[in-house]
C-alpha cells in the first residue's frame, strides 16, 4: 500500500514527462485521460483500506539534503484523506473539461495539468512542512502557465497578480518555516534542522508565546492569501475569471483547499496558543468574508466572477469552522472543503460549457436557457442548490455543522459569529437564484441562444459523477465524515492541552506587556495555575 501511495502521487508527473514523446493531439488527450483515470482508480484502494485515527501508508525517505533533516514523508490520515481523493477524482474531470475548450499547445496544457496533479497530491500527502512547501510551489508554476497561456483577455495581468501575491506571502512564510525547522532541530533533533510534521506537532515541541505570535502571523498571512480570507482576496476573482475552465476548476476545487488544509495541518497545531488567541479575530474575518463575498457576488454582471466571489463567501464558512475549536465545527469545515470543491467545481464547469457555446460570460447575454438546454439546466440547478446549502445536498451538511459547532464554541464564546454567518444562508440564495433566474428563466431574448446545443455525452459524463457525490454526501455524509471523526476529536484536545501547558510554563515576568495581555497571563492567572 505504501508503494501504491507513491505511485498515485508520482504517476501524473511521469505521465506529464511521457507526453514529450507524443505529437498527435488526439493521442495526447486520450493518454492524459487514461492516466488521470488510472490515478483515480489506483487511489481507491487507499480509501478503502484506510484506518481512521492514525497515519496510513506512512513511508519516510531521506534526508534528501545532507546536513538538514528534510525527508520525503508521505502518508494519509483523516485530515488529508478526503482532499487527496478529491484531487484524484477531479483529475479525469479536468482533462475532459479541456477536451474541446483548449485548442492551442495541447501537449503543454495537459503536461501542466498533470504536474499540477502531482503537486496537489503531494501537498495533501506529505507530512513534512518543507516538502509541503516544495509541493505547493510545484502547483503554483503550472497554474501560472495555465492562466498565462490559455486564459482570457486579461490573462497576463491576472497571472502576475496571482503569482506575485501568493509568492510574497509564501516567501515570508519560508522565513518563518526555516525558523521553525531550526527551533525544532535545536529542541528535539540534536541540533539538526527538521520539519517533520510528527515532531512539530508532538507535545514536546513547544514554542514560546512571543515566537508563536510572529510565526503565526507570518504563516497565517500566507494561508490567508491562499484561502483567501478577506481582505487578501483580490487576486481570486481576477484569476478565476481569466483562467480557462480547467484552470478555474482546479483553482476552486483543489487549490483553495490547500490554504485551509494548511491551517488545519500546520497552523493550528504548531502555534496553539497564538491560534486560540487569534481565533476570534480570524473568525470575524471569516464572517465578514461570508457577508462581503456574498454582497459583492450579488451585483456582479459576469457569471464567472459571481461564482468566484461566492467562493470567498463559502471559504469564510470554512475559516469560521476551523477556528471554532470543536469537533462538530471542524468536521463541518473538513467536509465543507470537499463540498465547496464539488459544487463550485461543477458551477465553473457549467459556466465553461456556456462560454464554449456563446463566447460570453455576461449574465445579460443569456436568459431563458432552460427551455433550450434542459439537461444543462437540471445540472446547473443541482449545483446551484448544493451551493446555497439545500438540505439533502452536500453543502448543507458542511454549513450546518460549521454553524452548529461555532454556536457552541467555547473559544469563540459568542452567538454573534453564527448569527451573522447564518445570514450568508439567505444571501447565498439571493445571489445564486437571482443569477440562475436571469440566465435560465424568462423568454429567450437573444437570437444566438435559440439554437444553443444541449450537453453532449462527454459533458454529461464529466458532470454526472459530481452530481452523484453532491447527493451522496448530502444524504449519507457519515460515509465521508467517518475518515476524520476520531482523529479530529483527539487532535483538537491535544492542541488545547498543549496550549494550556505552554501557558502554565510561561513566565509572566519575562513576557513583554502586550504578550501577557494578549495571552491573558497576569500574575493572578499564573498564581491560579500554580495552585
Amino acid at each position: 500500500m505504501e508503494l501504491l501511495l507513491h505511485i498515485v502521487i508520482l504517476l501524473p508527473l511521469v505521465g506529464a514527462l511521457t507526453l514529450i514523446f507524443f505529437n498527435n493531439e488526439h493521442i495526447i488527450k486520450v493518454f492524459s485521460l487514461v492516466l488521470t483515470t488510472a490515478t483515480f482508480v489506483l487511489s481507491l484502494p487507499l480509501l478503502l483500506n484506510f484506518i481512521p485515527g492514525e497515519v496510513n501508508y506512512l513511508s519516510v525517505y531521506g534526508p534528501m539534503v545532507p546536513g538538514i533533516d528534510v525527508k520525503y514523508i508521505v502518508g494519509l490520515d483523516g485530515l488529508s484523506m478526503l482532499l487527496f481523493m478529491l484531487t484524484t477524482f477531479f483529475g479525469p474531470i479536468v482533462v475532459l473539461s479541456g477536451w474541446s475548450y483548449i485548442k492551442d499547445h495541447i501537449r503543454g496544457f495537459y503536461a501542466m495539468v498533470m504536474i499540477l496533479q502531482t503537486g496537489s497530491l503531494g501537498v495533501f500527502a506529505t507530512l513534512d512542512l518543507f516538502m509541503f512547501y516544495i509541493f505547493f510551489e510545484l502547483t503554483q508554476i503550472p497554474m501560472l502557465f495555465l492562466i498565462g497561456i490559455w486564459g482570457g483577455e486579461n490573462r497576463i495581468y491576472a497571472t502576475v497578480k496571482f503569482f506575485i501575491y501568493t509568492l510574497v506571502g509564501w516567501l515570508l512564510m519560508l522565513v518563518a518555516l526555516i525558523y521553525v525547522g531550526t527551533a525544532a532541530g535545536n529542541m528535539l533533533n540534536d541540533g539538526v534542522f527538521t520539519t517533520d510534521w510528527r515532531i512539530l506537532t508532538s507535545p514536546e515541541f513547544k514554542l514560546g508565546l512571543v515566537e508563536q505570535t510572529w510565526l503565526f502571523v507570518t504563516f497565517g498571512f500566507a494561508f490567508c492569501i491562499k484561502i483567501p480570507i478577506m481582505p487578501f482576496h483580490s487576486w481570486l476573482p481576477l484569476a478565476h475569471t481569466e483562467a480557462p475552465t480547467p484552470g478555474s476548476v482546479i483553482l476552486a476545487a483543489i487549490s483553495l483547499k490547500m490554504g485551509t488544509y494548511a491551517v488545519i495541518r500546520y497552523l493550528l497545531p504548531l502555534f496553539p496558543n497564538a491560534a486560540i488567541s487569534f481565533a476570534p479575530a480570524i473568525a470575524i474575518l471569516g464572517v465578514i468574508g461570508i457577508i462581503y463575498g456574498a454582497l459583492v457576488a450579488m451585483v456582479q454582471k459576469d457569471v464567472k466572477k459571481l461564482v468566484a466571489y461566492s467562493s470567498i463567501s463559502h471559504m469564510g464558512f470554512i475559516v469560521l469552522g476551523m477556528f471554532a475549536y470543536n469537533t462538530i465545527a471542524m468536521q463541518g469545515a473538513i467536509i465543507q472543503m470537499v463540498n465547496h470543491g464539488l459544487a463550485t467545481g461543477a458551477l465553473f464547469l457549467i459556466i465553461g460549457m456556456l462560454y464554449e457555446r456563446r463566447h460570453t460570460r455576461a449574465i445579460s447575454d443569456f436568459g431563458g436557457l432552460s427551455s433550450v438546454v434542459p439537461v444543462m439546466a437540471v445540472m446547473f440547478m443541482i449545483a446551484t442548490l448544493a451551493s446555497i446549502g439545500l438540505p439533502g445536498l452536500n453543502g448543507f451538511v458542511g454549513e450546518f455543522l460549521i454553524l452548529l459547532g461555532s454556536f457552541n464554541s467555547e473559544v469563540l464564546n459568542s452567538y454573534w459569529y453564527v448569527v451573522f454567518a447564518a445570514t450568508g444562508v439567505i444571501l447565498a440564495a439571493v445571489y445564486m437564484l437571482w443569477m440562475f433566474r436571469r440566465v435560465m428563466f424568462g423568454p429567450v431574448t437573444h437570437e444566438e441562444n435559440k439554437n444553443m446545443k444541449d450537453l453532449n455525452f462527454r459533458e454529461i459524463a464529466l458532470l454526472t459523477p459530481i452530481m452523484i457525490f453532491i447527493v451522496w454526501i448530502g444524504i449519507r455524509p457519515g460515509d465521508f465524515l467517518q475518515y476524520s471523526e476520531v482523529q479530529v476529536e483527539q487532535y483538537l484536545q491535544d492542541q488545547l492541552d498543549k496550549a494550556a501547558e505552554i501557558t502554565a510554563e510561561a513566565h509572566y515576568q519575562e513576557l513583554p506587556g502586550w504578550a501577557s495581555r494578549f495571552y491573558d497571563i497576569t500574575p493572578q492567572v499564573v498564581e491560579k495555575i500554580n495552585e
Binding site: S234, S371, L403, A422, F441, G442
Partner: protein, 673 residues
C-alpha cells in the same frame, strides 16, 4: 400494529420513487413525455398508496397509542451531534399524513385533466411527487433537523412549481420571491435549532420534551420566537406573508395543494409539535396570538378589494392561517390543527373550483381566437365573469358548499373549527393578558364577518347574475356559448372535497353543545381525544352560557356577512357595490387596495438599499480600495526594484532576490534572538 410499522418507510419513499421515475425517465427519454396516462396515474398512485397505508395504520391507532419510530439510517453525525433519517408516527403526524396524502392524491388526480395539454406534464408530476415526499419528511420527522429537510424541500418544490411556466419572467420572479422570503424564515429556524442543541444536546423530539426543565427561560422565549419567525415565512404571516399572493403564478392545482392545504400549514404543525415548550412562556404565546390576529384582519381587508379570483383566495388563505396562529397563541393547539384540516378541505375545494373556472374562461378565450376575434382579457378577473352557475353546475355547487364552510355557517366544517378558535381566544383572556386577548377576540370576530362577506362577494360575482364578458370586451359578444363544465377527473375531486367540507367538522363537535341536551357531561369531541396526548392546550374554563353566547354570536356574525354580501353582490352590481364599500371605508380602502404597500416598503427599505450599497459601494471598494492597496504596495516595490533593474530583470530574479532577503533575515534572527 407491529407488522404495520414496515409501512412507515413506504409511506415516505413511494412519492420519492414516483419523482425519480417520472423525473429521470422524462428527462432522458423524450418519447416517455407523451405517455401522459402512465405518468399521471403513476404519480397519483405514488401518493394514493401511502394514503391507504396511512389509513391502515390509523385503524390500528387510537388516542392513547404510543408513538412509533422507524429509523432508516443516521443522517448527520459529528462529535456529540447526531440526527437520523427516522420517521415518527404519532397522533399528530398521522393526522397530517392523512391530510397530505389524501388531499394530495385528489389534487394529483385533478391535475391529470387540468394539466393535460401542458408540455411540461412529466415535470409537473415529478415536482408534485417530490413535494409530497418533502412534506411527509416534514410531518413525520422525529427530529428538528429532518423536519428542516422537509421544510426546505417543500420550499424548493414550491419554487419549482410557482415558476413552472418560467418562460414568463414575472412567474420566475414570483418563484424566487417565495424562496427568498422563506429563506429569511429558515435563517431564524436554523438559529432556533442551534439554541435547542445548546440546551439539551439533541434535536430529537423525545429528548427535547423529556428535558423541558433544562431549558433556561430566556432560551424558551428565544427558541419560540425564532421558530415563530420561521413559521411566518412558511405559513405566510406578518411580516413575511407577501410572497403567498404572488405564488398564485403557479398552476392552480399547485395553489390548492401547496399554497392552501399543506405546505403553508407546516408552521402551525411545527408550533403544535412544540406546544409543551410554547406554553411555558405566556409572553411568547401572546406574540403568536397577536401575529395571527393581525395577519387575519390585514389579509381579510385586502381580500375585500381584489378582483382576481385566485388573489382573493390567496389573501383568504393568509387570513385563515392567521386564525390558526391566533388559536396557537391562545392555547388552542387542537383548535388550530382542527382548522388546518377543515381549511385543507374547503380551501382546496375553492382553489380547484377556481381552477375549473379559469380553465373555462381560458377555453372561451381560445375559442374566440379560433373564430378570428381579437379578444383579450384576464381569465382570472371576476369582473368578466358572472352567471357561470348555469354552465358549470358541479363547479358552482361545490364552490358554494366550500364558501358556506369557510364563512362559518353551521353545520359545515369551517363553522366548528372557527368557532373553537374564537372560544379558545376568549378563554385565553382568563389565563393572562386578559384585555389583550379580549381585543384579539374582537379582531377575530370582525375578521370572521369580513370572511363571510368577501367570500360571498366572490361566489356571487362569479356564478350568479349575468355573464358580463360579452358586454365588456369587444369581439366577445357571443362568447357565452363556449362556457362548459370541466371533465369528471376534475369534478370528482371537487365533489369529494365538498363532501368533506360538509362533514369534516363533526370530528370536533364541542362537548358542551351535546352536554346541554344530554346532561352534565359529554365526550363527543373526537379530535380532542385524538390529539390531547400531544397538544398542550390551555384548559377550557368558560361556563356553558358563555360558550353558548360565543357560539351563537359567531353564527350571527357570519350570517350578517353573508346577508350583506347578498344585498350588495347578488342583488346589486359588483363594481357599484365596491364603490359603495370604498365610500363607506374612506381612507382605509386605498390602503387595502394597495395591499398596505408592504412590497414597496420592503423593496425600498431593504432590497433596494442593499443592492445599491453592494453595487455602488462594496463592489467599487473591492476594486479600488482593497485591490488598490495591493497594487499600491506592488508599485512601491516596483519603484525600489527599478533601482536594481540594471543588473536584474524579470520574475526569476526577483524570486531570487526575495530568497536572498529571506535568508539574510533568518540569519539575523538566528544570531540576535
Amino acid at each position: 400494529m407491529d407488522s404495520l410499522v414496515n409501512l412507515i418507510p413506504l409511506i415516505v419513499l413511494l412519492p420519492l420513487v414516483g419523482f425519480l421515475i417520472n423525473g429521470f425517465v422524462g428527462l432522458i427519454v423524450p418519447s416517455y413525455r407523451n405517455q401522459k396516462g402512465l405518468i399521471g396515474s403513476l404519480a397519483t398512485l405514488a401518493v394514493f398508496l401511502p394514503f391507504i397505508f396511512a389509513v391502515l395504520i390509523f385503524l390500528n391507532f387510537d388516542g392513547s397509542s404510543e408513538a412509533v419510530t422507524y429509523k432508516l439510517f443516521t443522517w448527520i453525525q459529528a462529535g456529540s451531534f447526531s440526527a437520523d433519517f427516522a420517521y415518527r408516527i404519532d397522533q399528530l403526524s398521522l393526522m397530517m399524513v392523512l391530510v397530505v396524502t389524501g388531499v394530495g392524491a385528489l389534487i394529483h388526480m385533478y391535475s391529470i385533466g387540468y394539466m393535460h395539454d401542458d408540455e411540461g406534464y412529466w415535470k409537473y408530476f415529478a415536482y408534485l411527487n417530490l413535494f409530497i415526499f418533502a412534506m411527509l419528511n416534514l410531518v413525520m420527522a422525529d427530529n428538528l433537523l429532518l423536519l428542516f429537510l422537509g421544510w426546505e424541500g417543500v420550499g424548493l418544490c414550491s419554487y419549482l412549481l410557482i415558476g413552472f411556466w418560467y418562460g414568463d419572467m414575472n412567474k420566475a420572479i414570483a418563484a424566487q420571491k417565495a424562496f427568498l422570503y422563506n429563506r429569511v424564515g429558515d435563517f431564524a429556524f436554523l438559529l432556533a435549532m442551534f439554541l435547542v442543541f445548546k440546551a439539551v444536546g439533541s434535536l430529537n423530539y423525545d429528548v427535547i420534551f423529556a428535558n423541558l426543565d433544562a431549558f433556561p427561560d430566556h432560551y424558551v422565549f428565544w427558541i419560540g420566537l425564532l421558530v415563530l419567525i420561521g413559521a411566518t415565512g412558511k405559513s405566510a404571516q406578518i411580516p413575511l406573508f407577501v410572497w403567498l399572493p404572488d405564488a398564485m403564478a403557479g398552476p392552480t392545482a399547485v395553489s390548492a395543494l401547496i399554497h392552501a392545504a399543506t405546505m403553508v400549514t407546516s408552521g402551525i404543525y411545527l408550533i403544535t409539535r412544540l406546544s409543551p415548550m410554547y406554553v411555558m412562556s405566556p409572553e411568547l404565546m401572546l406574540i403568536v396570538a397577536v401575529v395571527g390576529a393581525l395577519t387575519a384582519i390585514i389579509a381579510a381587508s385586502i381580500a375585500i378589494t381584489q378582483y382576481d379570483i385566485k388573489k382573493v383566495l390567496a389573501y383568504s388563505t393568509v387570513s385563515q392561517l392567521g386564525f390558526m396562529f391566533l388559536a396557537l397563541g391562545s392555547g388552542g393547539f387542537i383548535a388550530a390543527m382542527f382548522h388546518v384540516m377543515t381549511h385543507a378541505f374547503f380551501k382546496a375545494c375553492l382553489f380547484l373550483g377556481s381552477g375549473s373556472v379559469i380553465h373555462a374562461m381560458h377555453h372561451v378565450e381560445h375559442k374566440l381566437h379560433d373564430d378570428g376575434k381579437d379578444a383579450h382579457f384576464n381569465p382570472q378577473d371576476m369582473r368578466f365573469m358572472g352567471g357561470l352557475r348555469k354552465h358549470m353546475p358541479s363547479t358552482y355547487k361545490t364552490f358554494l358548499i366550500a364558501t358556506i364552510a369557510i364563512a362559518g355557517i353551521p353545520p359545515l366544517a369551517g363553522f366548528f373549527s372557527k368557532d373553537e378558535i374564537l372560544v379558545m381566544t376568549f378563554n385565553a383572556s382568563t389565563v393572562m393578558y386578559g384585555p389583550v386577548y379580549i381585543g384579539l377576540w374582537a379582531i377575530a370576530a370582525l375578521t370572521a364577518f369580513m370572511t363571510a362577506f368577501y367570500m360571498f362577494r366572490l361566489t356571487f360575482s362569479t356564478f350568479h347574475g349575468e355573464f358580463r364578458l360579452p358586454k365588456l370586451i369587444k369581439g366577445a359578444e357571443d362568447s357565452e356559448k363556449y362556457l362548459h363544465e370541466s371533465p369528471s377527473s376534475m369534478t370528482i375531486p371537487l365533489w369529494t372535497l365538498a363532501g368533506l367540507s360538509i362533514v369534516g367538522g363533526f370530528i370536533g363537535i364541542p362537548n358542551f353543545v351535546v352536554a346541554t341536551f344530554t346532561g352534565t357531561y359529554a365526550d363527543v369531541n373526537l379530535l380532542h381525544n385524538w390529539l390531547g396526548i400531544i397538544a398542550a392546550d390551555y384548559e377550557l374554563v368558560l361556563s356553558k352560557p358563555v360558550e353558548w353566547a360565543l357560539l351563537l354570536g359567531s353564527v350571527a356574525i357570519a350570517a350578517f356577512g353573508v346577508f350583506l354580501a347578498h344585498l350588495m353582490y347578488n342583488v346589486g352590481n359588483l363594481e357599484a357595490s365596491d364603490a359603495k364599500v370604498e365610500a363607506k371605508t374612506g381612507a382605509f380602502y386605498p390602503i387595502w387596495k394597495e395591499k398596505y404597500r408592504l412590497d414597496e416598503i420592503y423593496e425600498g427599505s431593504v432590497v433596494e438599499p442593499t443592492v445599491r450599497f453592494s453595487d455602488k459601494f462594496l463592489a467599487v471598494f473591492d476594486m479600488r480600495v482593497i485591490d488598490g492597496i495591493v497594487n499600491a504596495v506592488a508599485a512601491i516595490v516596483r519603484l525600489l526594484g527599478s533601482l536594481l533593474r540594471y543588473i536584474q530583470t524579470g520574475l526569476v530574479q526577483s524570486y531570487a532576490f526575495a530568497l536572498v532577503f529571506g535568508v539574510i533575515l533568518v540569519i539575523y534572527l538566528l544570531i540576535f534572538s
